[in-house]
Amino acid sequence: MTATNSEAVLPAQGIEAPRSGRIDPKYLRSSASSGSFEMVAWVFMRVSGAALVVLIFVHLFSNLMVGEGIHQIDFAFVAGKWANPVWQFWDLTMLWLAMLHGTNGMRTIINDYAEKDSTRLWLKSILYLACAVIIILGTLVIFTFEPCLLDDAGNLMDYSPSFCESVVN
């Protein structure tokens, strides 16, 4: 399919077909590959991007714009939010989509700028590893999170969100 002109022609006597031998190897594409992975990635970037707009804007708004804004953020605030499964789900989706979106974006950038195959491989390995770690960590944190911590004496800790009192007592 992508057979080039120069491969298919009869070699002239004496020299190969004109100029073709002179194409700088850096322009020669490694054989076509990957089916429609790039297409899927491309679509995913748009879909996740659109979803992220809603997810992130609401996230930022509820954390920074209402109530006391930045000052309200502490353990209790987070714990209070995650007690609600809707917020749990919200943050989880946001985490996954943002990480996958961001990682794929970074993959594109590495592909663009890493000149040597080996550098490319290294950078991408680190990227995928980081992505996996963060996603797993984040997911675990959201699901295993325990809002109402008790101290050694069995009393509710100071940091606990207010609803814990009703739960404990």
Binding site: N5, A8, L10, A12, Q13, P18, R19
Partner: protein
């Protein structure tokens, strides 16, 4: 020195060269040598259309087309060739369509056609729509389509290889009647690889010349910087005659001062020429078809208006092309490129302003003589086996003394195809001609001379002086006096050319050196053109002598043939032998050419 062996070598990758390559490439081991990347060839500049009597929109037939071609060429056309061209035109257009060319379409989905100067129905009764077109980019589409098909058929291109010499040998031969003569045979070509500065020899059984025109002999021209008459000069230097070189077409509507072409399609679509009084002056010169009269007539009329003081502009040196009465949408749809030229280069808005225009050197009717099989002739009858020519470089002669618009794109397709087929056919049975000893010597010496010259003459100065004198003395009006003046200047310049200096001494992409070589071609061809014009003491088609304003069929219904011949001298001109060749008539007797 590298030597390559091919069955067929095609020189030039314009319309004619690539059309030949598509045929020959499928039949024989073919190489195309071109000094430009194929898609840079000047065929891409052609705008208006390519004619064929398809009769898609109006009644038409190829016989009328033949008549128009013959009449347009002021009866100097070889009528057998004109018949072949008009007949094969239909297939030539359909071939291109099938190769993918995106022609404009009629509402029924057929190839649309439009009017063009000199094309009429029923032997001159009225203008007919015969030109097939793709907006005003017909040449561009042809060039692209042909290149695309060369890619499809894996044609081997040697891009930026300049052919600098044609290698021929001579053998003794005997005619049927027992007389002897020297038979020329072609052995190959010597080329210069622009990138490396190396010479390469291509040995070939068949060589096809398709190197295009010679517009750069003149200052005001629609032709590319690279159209420097290479092919004609190479053939001439190899002892092959040149035919009808005095006939140069000046296109009426070049952008004033620049020469950039506004296609005749502008008038085909309804544009009108006006002088400074706003008068539609063509009504006086060609009452029936007015602005759509053949180019030589319109160009002369324009020059006449300017001479008589009815020119427009601060120097009164041009006339107007008026499109303002046409619908802007119509202009934009049918003539997008040329209106953009007017905007870009002259800052004129064709929707609301008239465009300043003046005749511009456009096309060489003459060239390397061939027969209808595109075989090159070494004299009036004898062909050079294996040597072919097609396109503007050749003279078949289908254009006679004046080419009709759209007949050239047709010419390159019909005769390009023929050249490709016959060249491959010949190569399938012929043997290689032995290369002479060190065939590159001539080129090497020339290059050394230019590189090492200690002279002080500049290429650009000589070229500019040549172009100035040709514009002044050899344009639409010529006379004994002006011809002599041009000739004297050419000899002076040829003398100075010996003292030329080239600043770039390198091997890589040395275009400085090649411009010097091209100037050599220009000087030779200017000389041939001028001498040819001197001999033709009549006015016919593109050649108008003020001292002989009438057509003289008795003495000059003949093709001019000029040979390089150091031992010869006529009318004070040394080194050129002048001869004539009869015109071939089949069905049309010469008549007065009136429109």
């Amino acid at each position: 020195m590298q030597v390559h062996k091919y069955d067929v070598v095609i020189v030039g990758a314009g319309g004619a060269g690539m059309r030949a390559a598509i045929e020959s490439g499928q039949r024989a081991h073919t190489a195309v040598l071109t000094k430009l990347y194929p898609t840079r060839s000047h065929t891409g500049a052609a705008q208006g259309g390519m004619c064929a009597a398809l009769a898609n929109v109006e009644e038409d037939n190829w016989e009328w087309h033949t008549f128009d071609t013959v009449k347009g060429g002021d009866y100097l056309v070889d009528q057998d060739a004109a018949e072949v061209m008009a007949k094969e035109a239909i297939d030539a257009v359909l071939d291109l369509e099938k190769m993918g060319l995106p022609f404009n379409r009629t509402p029924e989905g057929k190839i649309d056609q439009r009017r063009f100067g000199g094309h009429t129905r029923d032997h001159g009764k009225a203008a007919v729509r015969r030109a097939c077109y793709a907006a005003d980019r017909t040449g561009h589409m042809i060039l692209q389509t042909l290149y695309q098909n060369c890619v499809k058929h894996n044609v081997e291109f040697y891009n930026e290889y300049y052919v600098l010499d044609l290698i021929t040998v001579e053998e003794d031969a005997t005619r049927e009647d027992g007389t002897t003569y020297k038979q020329k045979r072609v052995a190959g070509v010597v080329t210069y690889d622009l990138a490396s500065g190396e010479l390469h020899i291509f040995q070939a059984k068949s060589v096809v010349f398709a190197t295009g025109g010679l517009g750069k002999i003149f200052k005001t021209t629609s032709n590319a910087h690279t159209l420097t008459a290479d092919g004609m000069a190479l053939a001439y230097r190899a002892g092959i005659p040149l035919e009808d070189m005095e006939f140069v077409q000046f296109h009426p509507t070049g952008l004033a001062g620049l020469g950039v072409l506004l296609s005749e399609a502008a008038r085909g679509e309804g544009g009108i020429l006006r002088n400074s009084d706003g008068e539609r002056f063509m009504e006086r010169y060609a009452p029936t078809i007015k602005d759509l009269a053949p180019r030589d007539i319109v160009a002369r009329a324009m020059a006449q208006e300017v001479r008589e003081g009815r020119g427009a502009g601060p120097n009164k040196d041009y006339v107007y092309l008026d499109l303002t009465h046409l619908e802007p949408e119509h202009i934009d749809a049918k003539l997008p490129d040329i209106t953009e030229f007017a905007r870009t280069y002259l800052a004129v808005e064709p929707h609301t302003e008239p465009v300043p225009v003046f005749p511009t050197c456009h096309y060489a009717m003459g060239g390397v003589p061939t027969n209808i099989k595109a075989e090159v002739l070494q004299d009036n009858e004898v062909v050079v086996p294996g040597l072919y020519a097609a396109g503007e470089v050749a003279c078949v002669s289908v254009h006679g003394s004046n080419r009709l618009g759209t007949n050239s794109l047709l010419d390159i397709n019909v005769f390009g195809k023929r050249a490709g087929i016959y060249a491959a056919e010949y190569a399938s049975t012929a043997e290689f001609v032995e290369l002479p000893e060190a065939p590159e010597t001539f080129v090497t010496e020339q290059l050394e001379m230019l590189r090492n010259s200690s002279g002080d003459q500049r290429v650009a100065t000589i070229r500019a002086e040549l172009q100035d004198t040709m514009d002044l003395n050899m344009q639409v009006f010529r006379s004994e006096e002006s011809i002599r003046e041009a000739l004297d200047k050419i000899y002076e310049l040829k003398g100075r050319y010996q003292q030329i200096t080239v600043q770039d001494k390198g091997k890589r992409f040395n275009l400085d050196l090649l411009e010097a070589l091209e100037l050599g071609f220009l000087l030779d061809m200017a000389e041939v053109m001028t001498v040819s014009a001197m001999h033709r003491k009549e006015s016919r088609g593109g050649h108008y002598r003020e001292d002989y304003p009438d057509r003289d069929d008795e003495n000059f219904m003949l093709h001019s043939m000029l040979y390089k011949d150091p031992g010869f001298e006529t009318e004070g001109v040394k080194g050129i032998r002048f001869d004539t060749k009869p015109v071939i008539f089949t069905r049309y007797e010469p008549m007065e050419r009136k429109y």
